[in-house]
């Protein structure tokens, strides 16, 4: 599978394993960042950042529906910020099976990480990245996968 940024996403081949993001944690002050950085942005300590698996779940911080798209993307589509339990607040797209309609997302809702094509367009179909979907939606997906 071709990943947009292979260093940022980890997909385990083990059965039942869920994908996660790869961030970095400062050994000095404990700050967690995503994507990884070589220097802690908080305490500025160098070379004390170690890799951590993060972001399997998240809480929706803010969301909108973009009605126009840059090249390779298809509007309307959700654009969101999510809060990871480990600390980072990051930008994300939302999984394709979640229709970009008002009322579908609500700030504060529980989200789960999925890995899927960047966009359902010729340019982007082969490139995979992390996205988030509402937890209920993720459970449904997993059920479908088990049925299959």
């Amino acid at each position: 599978m071709e990943l947009l940024n292979p260093k940022d996403v980890r997909i385990s081949a083990e059965a039942g394993a869920t994908p996660c993001l790869v961030g970095a944690q400062c050994g000095e002050c404990g700050a967690v960042v995503f994507p990884r950085l070589p220097v802690c942005p908080k305490c500025k300590k160098r070379d004390g950042m170690t890799e951590v698996e993060i972001g399997r779940t998240a809480k929706l911080y803010s969301h909108t529906i973009a009605r126009f798209a840059p090249t390779g993307f298809r509007a309307p589509f959700f654009q969101v910020f999510v809060d990871l339990p480990e600390g980072p607040r990051i930008f994300s797209l939302v999984g394709d099976d979640c229709p970009a309609e008002s009322g579908v997302l609500e700030d504060g809702m529980e989200m789960r990480l999925v890995v899927e094509p960047l966009a359902d367009t010729d340019e982007m179909r082969a490139i995979h990245t992390y996205k988030y979907v509402p937890a209920a939606c993720a459970d449904e997906r997993r059920g479908d996968a088990q049925d299959a």
């Binding site: 940024n5 700050a31 942005p41 911080y61 909108t64 798209a69 840059p70 090249t71 654009q79 008002s102």
Partner: protein, 393 residues
Amino acid sequence: MRDVAVIGVGARPTGRLADCGLKELAYPAIWNALDDAGVGVDDLDVAYVGNSIAGLLTGQEGIRGQVVLQHSGISGIPVINVENACASGATAFRGAWLEVASGAADVALAVGVEKMFVDDSARTISALSGVSELELSQMGMQFTTSYAIHPKINLKARMDEYGWTLEDFAKPAVKNSYNGSLNPLAQHRKPRTIEEVVQSRVVVDPLTLLMCSSISDGAGAAILCSADMAKRFTSKDTIRVASCVLRSGHYKLRDYDGPDTATLCAQAAYEEAGVGPEDLDAIELHDAMAPSELMLYERLGLCGPGDGPRLIDDELTTLNGRVPVNPSGGLCSRGHPVGATGLLQIAELVTQMRGEAGDRQIEKRPKVTLAQNQGGLLMGQDSAVYSTTILTT
């Protein structure tokens, strides 16, 4: 550091200028500034040329400044190319200011130019996304989106916390559309009502089309010289650069609760100029989306948290209010040719301070003015570039 004066400015009408490439756009702005200053090309010691996305959109990736200036008859002098996202123009101005302030140059030219109308607007949107850190733009993050949901703005949270409404978001756009209707240089010259703004097409919820600055072709220029030399070139009032502050964004973790970088930048500019927000007679600020003007009121120290809409309700920031904001029409009406905007702001303020603004002239000629320009988006929840310049007569 020496005192620096702005002795000439030039701007050209912004809009969809199909027959103009970068060179054709910049030429009239540059020559208007030279003529305005009474400066000849041989008097110039150095030039800074700001541009953001012409590399991607026109293919002229390198030496844009030299190309543009040679077309205008300027060659031989040092030319510095400046890319700093939507604050490229302000950054070019700062470079020219620093050359003169330091004594390295006596007369400097600053130019900002941008060509945004191309064959396909999706290309322009993509190019604009490219002034965000790659990890954001690759994921399809757009600038308009950031002005709705970015943690430093989050309009929904503003609505919840301060009771701001869609009508409040529309107020700066309405005010600025009136100013723009009086400005022959503006891209959009139709005065709008709250209803029109709120009911226009949704671009990125909750932002509507008329709350957003639009794609634009344009150029602005300024001539700066040592203040003690100003009268050699022009008999017009000497306009002094009281401060010119450039800052970059910080990596902010989620628990960051300190001041916004725009606030820090403005505070530094006030301190250096020896003035405060209460001394300002006019402001040009970066209303890339209308609600951001409301937030910038707070960040420039004009009001407390959440009080932005009241400044417009009380007509404090209208054309003849206590401190008019965006007399040019701002980014939403004058247009936002991104790399030109910082210099269009300076050009407007100088024109107002000299009493040369025609129909949009502020009745009480401003003596202390402020230009605020910003751009780019970083991971770590902050914009990349912030600029605040204070001018005084």
